[in-house]
Symmetry: C2
């Protein structure tokens, strides 16, 4: 029997959006690394979060084999996106291939740790242990499989988010998130409604970036995309207000 | 802050049982392979099933990058076991490391295809396409992580099932399964009850081996272990009857 030839599809905005949604909402990944002794490709599981620029980061212990493996050879990949009902390989997944390095610079570490721990509050039980460290994967390319026969090869540019000149947004992220979660739960409920999330309330804002923000509730995550990427931290507040206003109008 | 030192635990029967349960019940895996061009460790997703001896097999298309990668270098690994609620890395998972080869021998292929397609009935939509082929991973070793701080390194012997002298069991598997599913749904309901499965009926027997058998319903799988491994095909029927009888007594 002949099969329809599976060729790579041309990368378009839908593919980029799907890939970025997978990477922004992923809670864990299969981490591919090279065995220290024999170079075999080994897959382990890590909890993940993103940096504001879309790079995947993770928290691992130096007592684990993947830690030594990445110290010896930084080449690695992460498989993101979990199957739902039905045929597992009918569900979209993304493999990001690149090199991982420990995050050593203290501001970067602080910023990533804060995003990571909002996505993984239970990791705070061990994140401070001396043997744990945050690592970050700088992508070289990515393979998106959007389901049977929908394969794409993406570049670093396709899956990363431009944060040039947005250091002020990174600096204010924690404050903005805390403010929204503490003082504007009504707005967050409106974002949840716009995304059609269930339950309709109880979600928390956990991270934001120039292209949108991420919500979480227990083990669930969701992503809301801005219509256009914001260009400065000053644009954040009006955008958040305008999305809530549109959602309120949509509800009435 | 000091961390409790994560050392490998001594492998015991509980660890072996957990590892084998993960590999027998897994529906899909993260497949680690070496990129054909640059040798990077890449992770993709594949649907999996087991051979009767416990080796993991999968169905892949020669149009996919992992197919070419495994042709070029058979070294690979599979990550099995999916997280449930709470911290993803608190849930058990198993990495099996070894070499994968296409299953070419026709009886072996038929036997594995039959097990695979009972676990993945939707794969029958494409399993016969000319570009698809069944592959099998011969393990060299495995890493079991039973949750935080519970790490084990297992040998091939720890995770495989001895089928020496049991070719007759392999030969009768399809017939026995069909007979059970068609004529003894009452017994299967008793097995489901013994395992505490929900819903309590509607499960099907999908594979059996000397150490137990596997049930499936939609996207769920479950494993029932025999008290002792059976030594010949003749022992199968009395064992199946005795488990059903015990379960019936347990219910009354």
């Amino acid at each position: 029997m002949a099969s329809p030839k599976q060729t790579l599809r041309a990368v378009d905005d839908n593919a980029r959006r799907l890939a970025k949604t997978l990477l922004r909402t992923a809670r864990y990944a299969g981490l591919g690394h090279l065995d220290v002794d024999d170079g075999s490709p080994v897959v382990s599981r890590v909890n993940v979060a993103t940096c504001m620029d879309g790079r995947i980061g993770f928290l691992i212990s130096e007592l684990s084999p993947h830690f030594d493996a990445l110290v010896a050879d930084p080449r690695c990949s992460v498989l993101l996106g979990e199957p739902g009902k039905g045929d597992p390989i009918a569900h979209p997944r993304l493999t990001i291939i690149g090199r991982a390095h420990r995050i050593v610079e203290s501001v970067e570490q602080q910023r990533f740790a804060s995003r990571f721990l909002r996505k993984h509050p239970k990791s705070s039980l061990y994140a401070e242990f001396a043997d744990f460290a945050y690592w970050r994967l700088t992508p070289q390319r990515a393979l998106l499989n959007g389901g049977f026969g929908k394969a794409y090869e993406l570049t670093q540019r396709d899956i990363q988010t431009n944060v040039d000149g947005l250091d002020d947004l990174e600096g204010m992220e924690v404050g903005a998130i805390t403010h929204m979660n503490e003082d504007h739960r009504d707005a967050i409920d409106l974002y949840s409604a716009r995304l059609g999330l269930k339950p309709m309330s109880g979600w928390e804002l956990i991270s934001l970036d120039p292209e949108g923000f991420d919500l979480a509730q227990r083990d669930e995550t969701a992503r809301l995309w801005f219509d256009c990427p914001i260009k400065s931290a000053d644009e954040l507040r009006p955008v958040l207000i305008s999305i809530a206003r549109e959602a309120r109008l949509g509800n009435n």
